[in-house]
Symmetry: C2
Subunit: 347 residues, 2 copies
């Protein structure tokens, strides 16, 4: 008889939560009982899983004593509130919010990059920001092969990164503009339809002109790659794309590398798909990345302005590998290592 | 009596040509006679200028003997064909196409940056690429004040950069998608609606993985700034925006500079408007740049990953300062320097 895990999904009705439920089924994760949790506002909704409907329950009243694994994708404040309660009840929480990402006691994990770190958890494993994940998946093999010295990244982030209301707002604004109707702005600080916003998340006085998103990209990448002094600078930008984050990445390496060598290293890297025949019109695009598990990498070319520079371009399904898939992969990794043990809790 | 110039606009019915006609009127350029020229396909159309309709004539049959100044915005092959003929007839051609930009005998001019270079023309003055112009307008004052060492730029380019058919394609594709109808792709190599394409223009084997757009940004910037060995690397990207190019710019300077110093220098620079109160939601956006003469610059902040780095973000009306306005400003500059002379031709 197959060992199964009782799984709770917190924030089940959100964009990432829905994707997580979908992926648990698609990937055949050995789910025993599935518990869907959300705020009171979303409770009572029904979601399909393995051919039957599951009713969404209220998070604040949830009992975690019988739960092995929590896939958590609410806002950070909700995670901070419920996660300790779930851990105290014996569950392992894989949290997609920013709540615990910089907590030195909580491993921050991308399985292809630092999967082993997940094993040292004390009940919570954190999953990185949706812009950080594709970046480190590509930087890791480059760092191992050639040594990464400095990175300049500019992002092209889809509205789904702001949750369901992000997509709804782009849709509503687009329809309004095409019909010459006035448009409303709620999810983003300015009109996003047919516009570009050099702001993802918020500006805090202590961040010296950077957004919290840009700070996350830098700090999380350093933690995951295990390079505390990695020189990485980011500009995070929202574009009117429904789903799929893209990034323009300039990398300085320790030794000169040809585009072919870099392509070869990346094509062997786990979680990466090289899509790089630009003259044939093949390069990563958010439309192509959507629904794919891999980070798509292309436009790989030497940057001759430094001794050993590379430019590359990546695209990633930010709801999938950028969020829900990474969390499910952490669950799969922990589960595969838990072997005969009843619980996923570390020794 | 005011001296007037007889002006021909070539490619008058295109996106840039229409903007040029509009700007000649808006800016009160002393136009004597206006001649609108286009291919046979567009001939016969009528365009308004100074309150009356002008009929578009066929370029191939045009007589330039009475023309002082040609504002030229057709494709490069058309420019190469007609421009020598116009120059031979005594006109000065200000050409927006890529035909003569790298010709050492043709000055490549952004008036705020290297206006004087226009005076050495031999009949043709070239106006740069729409991504190059805003970049050099910002790099010039930074270079003069602090010395520019290296630049990494990623662009977010509007569809209007591909001419009228670019805007028509984004509109048609958006409508098709919202109505669940199949969409057609002609102006761009892939769907642009709700997508991002890391390709602007074409890939040539000799460019080692870069697009012709990216090569132009590098080569033209070096010429205009007069820094033949400027270390500048570019990634040019098309985004689903109707009008207004944005650029994420990382600059290494010769000496450490605070964000305040950089802001101060940029705010005094001609052709630049600093829009930089990010916490108050103020930063450059393509929607805000459209209709403005200046290049909008913001998100100015130190990049701590190098000894003296800056990140900044700019937005520019690519049809206006990125194209038609720059050409009209070159015309104004030449006209102001021509003084008593009948013709704009150099000595």
């Amino acid at each position: 008889m197959t060992r199964t895990a009782n799984v709770a999904v917190v924030g089940a009705t959100g964009a990432v939560g829905q994707e997580a439920v979908h992926l648990l089924e698609e990937r055949g994760f050995p789910v025993g009982r599935l518990v869907l949790l959300a705020s009171g506002r979303s409770a009572g909704a029904e979601m399909a899983f393995q051919g039957r409907l599951h009713r969404v329950e209220v998070l604040s009243q949830a009992d975690f004593r019988d739960i092995d694994l929590v896939l958590s994708a609410p806002g950070a404040s909700v995670s901070r509130e419920f996660a300790p309660r779930a851990v105290a009840a014996g569950a392992v929480v894989i949290d997609k919010s920013s709540a615990f990402r910089m907590d030195p006691e909580v491993p921050l994990v991308v399985p292809e990059v630092n999967g082993e770190a997940a094993l040292s958890h004390r009940g919570i494993v954190s999953s990185p920001n949706c812009s950080t994940i594709p970046l480190v998946v590509c930087l890791k093999p480059l760092h191992e092969a050639f040594g990464v010295r400095r990175v300049v990244v500019s992002t092209y982030q889809a509205v789904s990164g702001a949750g369901r209301r992000g997509g709804e707002e782009l849709f509503r604004q687009t329809v309004a503009l095409l019909n010459h109707r006035p448009l409303e702005t709620e999810a983003f600080p300015h009109q996003i339809a047919f516009n570009v916003l050099p702001q993802v998340e918020t500006f805090r006085p202590e961040d010296e002109g950077y957004t919290t998103e840009e700070v996350k990209i830098v700090q999380e990448s350093r933690r995951i790659l295990g390079i505390p002094d990695l020189r990485l600078t980011a500009t995070a930008v929202r574009v009117p794309v429904m789903n799929g984050h893209s990034e323009s990445v300039n990398v300085e390496l320790d030794r000169p590398v040809s585009a072919e060598e870099a392509r070869e290293v990346l094509s062997r890297a786990p979680g990466v798909a090289v899509v790089d025949d630009p003259a044939g019109g093949e390069y990563p695009m958010p439309l192509e990345a959507t629904g794919r598990d891999e980070v798509l990498v292309g436009r790989i070319r030497r940057d001759p302005t430094v001794a050993s520079g590379l430019n590359l371009w990546l695209a990633c399904d930010n709801l999938r590998k950028g969020a829900a898939l990474n969390a499910v992969q952490i669950a799969e990794f922990l589960w595969s290592r838990a072997e005969g043990r009843r619980r996923l809790v570390a020794e």
